[in-house]
Symmetry: none
Subunit: 142 residues, 2 copies
DNA sequence: TGTTAAATCACCCGAAAGGATGAGCTTAAA
DNA sequence: TTTAAGCTCATCCTTTCGGGTGATTTAACA
């Protein structure tokens, strides 16, 4: 639900820019049609415009990775799981996490597995990343 | 010296792609000239081509921003090791890193092992943390 | 009272990661 | 030309991770 919300906004922006570009192109096309037509100039203009737009778009796409924040939403993670996630992000091994929480290795593993499925990731490194992006844990730079 | 090496490669790639695009454009131009000329198709083609190229270029540029930073202390990490470290911090597995760098799994593991000893850590999660702390890699919040 | 979610633990298995060591190749430097 | 560093790849071995399944206990809840 929230994801769709966010994505929709992005699509609207992109769509809007696309539409604007199309209009610009139409204007250019019209102008160059009524005057002496210069194909090279026309092609170069379109190329440059789309190139600039593409660069901006590419940057945006890449940059968007960490901009998405999930305020308050903890994705159904329980308290214990958040606790484990914190230790996970500190670079501790499963055994070390188990020791810190005074539970067995198996229990720690169970929690971690549940975290993975809730975060929809496959490795602990990805879990750490996602947790950081979603501000589920303390991030060093904020 | 080594940096120039790498940058040169990038420039060559960019240059090559640029040149190829120009050739493609010339061909399209020629074909559309001799037949019935379709301006919309011409414009759309150029637009799409440059858009794709721009997106790719934009991503590359943005991604590359921090790779050439921090000439300071890298703890004796070689260029290749920094490259591996970057991918490591992206949450990739050893196999995925190997695939991205077009080397064998064993090579990737060797690099990673060397990184561990140079960073004085034992696990990849710790390596990521230390790399982030020392600004050896991209930190999401800066 | 029955149900549900959370937390705990166990066992098994395969995949991934990590350590140790050796070795071939290339390039830059002494 | 010898040396050193960097990159590459390999093999063997151990540990850790991760997936799957099932079970118990407790607390909250309808």
């Amino acid at each position: 639900m929230k994801k769709l919300h966010k994505l929709n906004r992005i699509y609207w922006i992109y769509g809007g820019v696309m539409g604007l570009l199309m209009i610009i192109l139409q204007v250019i096309q019209y102008k160059t049609m009524v005057r002496e037509f210069n194909l090279d100039f026309y092609g170069a203009s379109i190329g440059i415009l789309f190139l600039i737009f593409g660069i901006w778009l590419g940057s945006s796409i890449y940059r968007r990775k960490s901009t998405d924040k999930y305020d308050g939403d903890k994705l159904g993670l329980s308290n214990r799981e958040l606790e484990v996630l914190e230790l996970l992000a500190q670079g501790l091994s499963n055994q070390e996490i188990a020791d810190k929480l005074f539970v067995s290795l198996n229990t720690a593993k169970t929690h971690i597995s549940n975290i993975y499925s809730k975060l929809n990731v496959k490795r602990r490194t990805q879990a750490i990343q996602k947790a950081r992006d979603m501000a589920l844990i303390d991030s060093p730079k904020e």
